[in-house]
Assembly symmetry: C2
């Protein structure tokens, strides 16, 4: 295999004798995504910024610390209960900057549009992006538009990249035993809303995507408690993935309590019906924070007082029982390991 790479001519499409191909599971945010990124991208691009594998890279230009992030949105369908692909794109980039303690400032908007796409739909998407950008206090300052022939894209893909000004150096804070794990609300709403819309499930429910810009919530916490140890928005791969990312290769482990994890009753019902596990389902307006034990209750109070954190919960804590692993204490008192997502429950969710 490696022989094909040595001195590969960059102009000639290499032959693929081994049929090593990309599968949908490479894009689900779970085990295969992480392996692909680690073995094929991070190892190749390797530098001090990328190596940290954070939601945004923290870079410096002329002494000013910036957060820089990128995300493409390929969600299907592109309109859904709770928003559309444009809202998702702005919120996602705002959140990736905010969880690094960076105030979101400028966003780019690059569109890949399939020939034949409706300009009326495009207008609504663009209007939504503008409204969400205003809400989050960011400016969309640069863009790009590509049109591809029919059948070469699925209607519309949006890439948003963003620049933020680092205000809190969260990555320098260290997680320690006893720290509490907090989420700002119910899990799984986004994934189930998308799935229902996509499959035209006739579920009589109010389940909507939770898609939201969380910078207001996040900075209302950080202003009072800049010693938050860690933050990540809980998207592809769900809570399970973030928990595993937090403790992978660490001396500590995580325990979460099943009965503390907030999940809407109707989301629970759909998950049971379809055999999904809510902790693997994507969210778009949820953040996981790790706070020192002595401030966790106050952080929770701030969250619950904010419109985006009404259903916040302390769901678990950092311990040393199983280092490098995340466990769940089940409602009936059992204990099960929380593994990374392997096969795909729901592709094209963001």
């Amino acid at each position: 295999m490696d022989e094909q790479h040595v001195g590969a001519d960059p102009c000639v499409r290499p032959t693929n004798n081994e049929q090593r191909i990309i599968t949908l599971a490479h894009g689900n945010g779970g085990k295969l995504t992480q392996r692909l990124i680690k073995e094929h991208f991070a190892s190749q691009f390797a530098n001090e910024y990328l190596n940290k594998m954070t939601d945004s890279a923290i870079v410096e230009v002329n002494g000013v610390k910036l957060a820089f992030t990128t995300d493409s949105y390929v969600i299907k369908p592109h309109f859904f209960p709770g928003g559309n692909i444009g809202k998702l794109a702005v919120c996602g980039t705002v959140n990736d900057l905010s969880v690094m303690g960076a105030v979101p400032k400028y966003i780019s908007c690059a569109l890949i549009i399939e020939e034949g796409f409706s300009i009326t739909e495009l207008d609504v998407i663009i209007k939504t992006m503008k409204e969400e950008a205003d809400r989050a206090g960011v400016k969309i300052v640069t863009g790009d538009t590509k049109v591809v022939d029919k059948g070469s894209a699925d209607k519309i893909f949006i890439n948003t990249s963003g620049i933020g000004e680092v205000k809190y150096n969260i990555i320098e804070n260290k997680i320690s035993v006893g720290d509490k794990i907090i989420v700002n609300g119910t899990l799984g709403d986004h994934g189930i809303a998308i799935f229902s819309a996509r499959e035209n499930l006739n579920i009589k429910s109010e389940i909507k995507s939770d898609s939201a810009s969380l910078n207001s919530l996040i900075f209302s916490v950080l202003e009072k408690y800049p010693n938050i140890k860690f933050m990540r928005d809980i998207t592809r791969g769900g809570l399970a993935t973030v928990l595993n990312e937090v403790c992978a290769n660490e001396e500590f482990g995580i325990e979460v309590y099943e009965n503390k994890i907030p999940v809407r009753e109707d989301v629970k019902a759909v998950c049971e019906l379809l055999g999904f596990d809510p902790i693997y389902i994507a969210n778009e307006g949820k953040v996981l924070m790790i706070a020192p034990a002595d401030t966790a209750d106050n952080v929770l109070k701030i969250m619950r007082g904010h419109k985006d954190g009404v259903n916040a919960q302390i769901i678990g804590e950092i311990n040393t029982t199983h280092s490098g692993k995340a466990y769940m204490k089940t409602s009936i008192g059992g204990r099960r390991i929380i593994d990374m997502l392997v096969s795909d429950q729901l592709p094209r969710i963001c």
Copy 2:
């Protein structure tokens, strides 16, 4: 039509009674692209940064001036004589920053990959990106990977966004009558190379994409002549498009001399055969500079001394004969207007 927009529910796909749809010509960089951007994006997003409609937005964070740009690459085929989609993506973003007088610093890499894509091909593309980034002195610091189901993308799309540190305030320089127009080499190589590869034309030629990072060339000029009035890389829509962008709504016009425009003999031959006009063909390693008359010869000398400017030429000048318009003085002494590109000669070229 506007009634559909007023209070449009962002969660519900609007009906499209009028069948206003996106066509390939909306993506060719010409008239329709500009109208789409102006009427549907710029008018909606409107802010002091975006309004300038430059290759990169010039923004400020904590007193530091940054250039910020984004581009998606959807080229077909993704391997071609002279490079691959990965090289294009890095060069394109490096160039969009450099033409603003900004030193390219950090780049993002967001991939949309079609299920079934070869990992061997992916590896070559990623390796090429790394090599080109090293050559240009930029770091790829953040990324994203999405996988879409078969038939929902054309193999691989790459978005690169970039941050540069503004070193020369080119946009503050004003174009004036008598300024000279310079290009750094032969036009049309990229477009014709891609077209030949795509159509499997059995043209016995050495035509290769000119794809190159031009920051080294550009800064070797700017170090000596920071009073360059304008720079733009000549990509989609070709020379004709850039000339029109330069003089649109201005008091001045442009005249270029047909016999000074550098075009390779084999590119000329293919264009004649197929009915293409080289001044509308895309390039990926060409920059147009506008220099004060008294420095133009020296700028040309610097360019010709650089590997990326060996075939540089002064091709025309700013005048007042036809304000707001670009004209070409033909080889036989005639004069023809250079219009914006309307219908597409070659889609999916970048």
